[in-house]
Symmetry: C2
Subunit: 212 residues, 2 copies
DNA sequence: TAGATTGTTAATCGATTAACAATC
DNA sequence: TAGATTGTTAATCGATTAACAATC
């Protein structure tokens, strides 16, 4: 990456969307695109697109626009898609199993290396060739296999304690599906998927409307 | 609600978090709390908390702070938790089934009224007493039962067409788990849970770090 | 009453949009 | 070359934080 100031989270959260739309353009055999037209498709202003992309480098060409394939490759790279990640799931309940089976991850080159649970009835069962392991072996597994990302799908009451184990053993990031906020040392990336919060946003907006 | 200007999405997205922390305080038998202390727990500034709450009314008392139970009740109400919602799931794959089984929703009074899928092998099967129905009956079901919220868990390629059916039959909100952006007429609430985007945010941040 | 803490206004900060010179 | 469109600076907008008078 040429540039590299401090990129704001607002920008980072838009990158996957660029990636998605550029993938669509490639599939539709579009070779080049201007910030104006991309903006119309995605629903961003042309200005914002140019600002965003310029955080990372000069990917465009005056008078021409952006080469779709090149830009896609650049953004893939910025998103970290050119390397591999060891990923584990902790908690083989509804959500954990659904994510273990979720086929969309594969197309991005992600796959799950191990699954852990406390429930003896689940331990040993395989989900798509990945065996569910005893959560007591989590600490050594993380350390020995240099796991980058843990997908946390345990009940809220268990989340912080599992999180501590992960942090102590050198996890780099936690994708948290438990409905709690986690305390971690600085430097560990936390990304929350708070499903209840998301649903409550809907009911809040619906409720706001009926009152007007 | 006493006041009621135009509440920004930034504020609305913080409300579920207030709700969650106030619930914790009630469970810990805390009767009252100042914006300062609540801020320290949640990780917001006291100022922000007072600003946020004042969008909806004067819930505090000078020199005292906020009554925890009262505030919790007010926020529950703002979040629309004092009424019921008819909710359906469309798509009984991994994610759809996981959400149908997700017990956390119950504690908020949410339950699923119906599940739909295209797959004949799934139609008729029950998930927690809710039968999976033929997606061809979706339109009439939505209309006749005045469904408020549809949880969309179909593959990306099917999402827009199901979305159109929902919109035509008077859905109020769509909780979208498909990895696409939906086009809907104004007035329909869309809340996206773009799992891939969320995971790519993690890899982007991890990647950023290794480069530094 | 004095101390505490709110509600609210003003100041700051950051993110988005507009404008335009540079240049392909 | 002329037209198009970028990269980038400046202007605007919105959200967060600070400050403080009001008041319980």
């Amino acid at each position: 990456m040429e540039k590299k100031r401090n990129i704001s989270m607002a920008v980072i959260r838009r990158l996957p969307k660029y990636h998605r739309y550029l993938g669509d353009l490639i599939r539709n055999e579009v070779d080049r695109i201007s910030s104006k037209e991309l903006g119309e498709r995605i629903g961003f202003t042309a200005s914002q697109i140019r600002q965003d992309l310029n955080c990372f480098g000069d990917f465009g060409q005056q008078g021409y626009g952006y080469n779709v394939k090149d830009l896609y490759a650049q953004i893939s790279n910025i998103l970290g898609l050119s390397r591999d990640y060891k990923i584990v799931i902790i908690g083989a309940g509804n959500i954990g199993q659904a994510l273990a089976n979720y086929s969309n991850f594969e197309s991005f080159g992600f796959d799950i290396d191990a699954i852990f649970d406390v429930n003896p009835k689940l331990i040993g069962i395989k989900i798509r060739d990945v065996e569910i392991r005893d959560i007591d072996t989590l600490d050594s597994y993380i350390k020995e296999n240099d796991v980058s990302i843990a997908i946390l799908c345990v009940p809220g009451r268990a989340a912080q304690s599992v999180c501590d184990t992960l942090a102590e053993n050198g996890i780099k990031a936690i994708w948290n599906f438990a409905p709690v906020d986690l305390n971690v040392p600085d430097g560990i990336v936390i990304e929350n998927v708070h499903l209840i919060d998301s649903l409550l946003t809907i009911t809040c907006l619906l409720n706001e409307k009926t009152e007007k």
